[in-house]
């Protein structure tokens, strides 16, 4: 049951992220990217299988353990995702200021001139 809830949660968050990503304003795109990276992180976390209350270390004779590697991967991915999101936010703000619009194709009309 928990598997199903987890999988559905990841799917719904990812779907919301993709929907927001396909909007044409930078603000919704940033939100969409954030949601997409949450979904990705949850997915990565799930790739180590879901378990509760297990030690992340195994020794001879251990039957069940919580795989620590996906957790390390998720930690790295969160750090990188945070930095990238910060970068996109700043970039979106600068382009809003300099192009005078938060549309993703702002200022495109003048390209041909």
């Amino acid at each position: 049951m928990m598997d199903l809830v987890f999988a559905a949660g990841v799917g719904i968050v990812a779907a919301c992220g993709v929907y927001l990503l396909l909007r044409m304003r930078t603000y919704t795109i940033v939100l969409g990217l954030a949601l997409l990276s949450y979904a990705t992180n949850l997915f990565l976390f799930g790739s180590g299988r879901l378990s509760i209350g297990q030690a992340p270390i195994f020794a001879e004779g251990t039957e069940v353990y919580a795989d620590p590697i996906p957790q390390a991967l998720v930690l790295t991915a969160i750090v990188i995702g945070l930095a990238m999101t910060a970068f996109v936010v700043v970039l979106a703000l600068i382009s809003n200021k300099e192009l005078g619009s938060d549309h993703v194709d702002a200022g495109r009309d003048e390209e041909g001139k």
């Binding site: 990705t40 299988r49 353990y65 590697i69």
Partner: protein
């Protein structure tokens, strides 16, 4: 000593960049800081070039340089594993970066405070991505080289750069998310991320798990296709490569190769032939996509009305050629692809620098294909353009011809009619357009140069472009040596077992048996 070479390739640019940033932050004297950053950057790249040469020599005999970080046994350590292909790509990166830095010292680096540190970070990410032996580490180095490339792309600001930058950043962040999902699927099924270990374990996947593994692998293919700008995910490239200052465009000539390199690294040893249910994942896709990319790139070249725009589509066409060669999935074709990657990186970079030089000197007309006054220094520029055009179109006697001939010779009989037709026809299209643009730029003259215009940069500023393009002739003269090396490279990539043995050999068999992973059901049952 040789054992530490790979880590130096990452550490040296990182520290140089950090010192460069500090110099900029601590001093208000921008001119002095720029001078220091330039000298520091050049020294760093010179050292890196020498070390990359040493690394190339150390791996030429077939030896693998393996660095296990923290000295944990494989597969627990995150390893750098440098074989011939890695060493070749790193050497190419350093060579390119050195000339880009040389070209940038001519004034492109004065538009903002941190060009040189950014270049070093870019080099660090590229070198790491080419050397890593771990799939997740590849993701990390991708992010390093991407964030440096975002900043370099936006370097100098301006509206076109901002718009192109926003698109480029967003599309690459989506790519990173897909990469992580692909890595997660593969880890979930195979329980390892070390590439050599993956190559060893992929064949053990069961028929029931195979579709999921294929899905993960194809997600990686999509991400690499995005990086390499393969159709249908190539549309970001023309705007992105058109926008930045000239030297940055030239440096980006190696960025698409990261994607091609990823395809080679993942889809030959891990998902290649002889891997049971894991093999044959990419074969139905790569060759057709390569051919379509080649055609789309050539049509883009044909439609371009601007010199730099044309060169950006030349990048797409050259990616198409490389991916076609890789997509044949034979050892001989991979060797030809390796040769072509070296050729196209150097020549494309030189072409970008040349396009920038021509655009600057044409004054108001810029790179547009319209009549304009005779540009200053037209003669050396025209000679360089001829060199670049001959080499890119693939005419003898330069390296483009050898590269394409090697690829044509490597095509298996079954697909020969299609591949030969596409490659030869697109080469002809490129030739037509290169000739047309060359004749407009240099022969379609009107009026006199406006005296009020600023004087053109000196002839000496053409030197980096000239040297890069001259490499084409060097590659043609010493083509046999590179050909021998690229054959050995391809043989090494296809010799999966040797790599696995070398990377995994002193991995202690500890623990002897892997415990069952905990599952939710197991927990509930207990």
């Amino acid at each position: 000593m040789n054992g530490h070479l790979p880590i130096a390739m990452v550490a040296i640019p990182m520290f140089t960049a950090a010192v460069g940033l500090l110099l900029g932050a601590l001093s208000k004297d921008t001119a002095r800081v720029l001078g220091q950053q330039r000298a520091l950057g050049r020294a760093s790249l010179l050292v890196l070039m020498v070390l990359a040469g040493l690394m190339l020599e150390a791996t030429a005999g077939g030896e693998l340089l393996v660095v296990r970080l923290g000295n944990w046994p494989s597969p627990f350590s995150i390893a750098l594993a440098v074989d011939r292909l890695s060493a070749l790509m790193v050497a190419l990166t350093m060579l390119l970066a050195f000339f880009v830095q040389w070209a940038a010292r001519d004034g492109a680096d004065t538009r903002g405070p941190y060009f040189h540190p950014l270049l070093q970070f870019q080099v660090m990410g590229l070198a790491g991505a080419f050397m890593t032996g771990d799939l997740f580490n590849l993701f990390v180095f991708f992010e390093i080289l991407l964030i440096a490339s975002y900043a370099l792309l936006l370097y100098g600001r301006g509206r076109a750069r901002l718009r192109a930058g926003l698109h480029y950043v967003v599309i690459n962040l989506v790519g990173s998310a897909l990469f992580l999902v692909g890595v997660g699927v593969i880890y979930g099924l195979l329980g390892t991320l070390n590439m050599a270990d993956l190559a060893a374990k992929a064949s053990l996947v069961s028929a029931a798990d195979a579709p999921l593994l294929h899905a993960g692998a194809l997600l990686l293919l999509l991400v690499f296709a995005l990086k390499a700008a393969i159709v249908p995910v190539h549309l970001w490239l023309p705007a992105t490569y058109h926008a930045p200052v000239g030297p940055v465009s030239a440096l980006f000539a190696i960025m698409t190769k990261v994607g091609v390199y990823g395809i080679i690294r993942v889809f030959v040893p891990i998902f290649g032939p002889g891997q049971g249910w894991a093999s044959g994942v990419a074969e139905p896709w790569v060759l057709p996509l390569g051919l379509v990319t080649l055609v789309a790139g050539s049509l883009g070249v044909l439609a371009a009305t601007d010199l730099k725009k044309m060169v950006t589509y030349l990048v797409v066409a050259s990616v198409g050629t490389q991916v076609t060669a890789v997509g044949l999935f034979t050892e001989q074709a991979l060797a030809a692809a390796t040769f072509y990657i070296v050729h196209s990186t150097l020549v494309t970079a030189g072409f970008f620098l040349l396009a920038d030089a021509i655009t600057v000197r044409r004054g108001e007309a810029g790179g547009r294909l319209s009549a304009a006054p005779l540009m200053p220094q037209a003669r050396p520029l025209a000679i360089l353009y001829l060199l670049a055009a001959v080499s890119t179109a693939g005419l003898p006697p330069l390296s483009g011809f050898i590269g394409k001939a090697l690829i044509l010779a490597a095509v298996p009989d079954a697909v020969q009619p299609v591949v030969w037709t596409v490659i030869l026809l697109t080469s002809f299209l490129l030739l037509v357009q290169l000739a047309r643009i060359g004749s407009v730029l240099f022969w379609n003259l009107s009026g006199l140069r406006d005296e009020a215009e600023p004087a053109a940069p000196s002839v000496r500023s053409l030197a980096p472009a000239a040297v890069m393009l001259a490499f084409s002739a060097v590659l043609a003269l010493f083509g046999e040596r590179l050909d021998v090396f690229s054959r050995a490279t391809a043989a090494q990539i296809y010799d999966r077992q040797a790599t696995i043995d070398r990377v995994m050999n002193d991995a202690e068999p500890w623990p002897k048996t892997w415990p069952e992973r905990s599952t939710l059901e197991g927990k509930d049952g207990s």
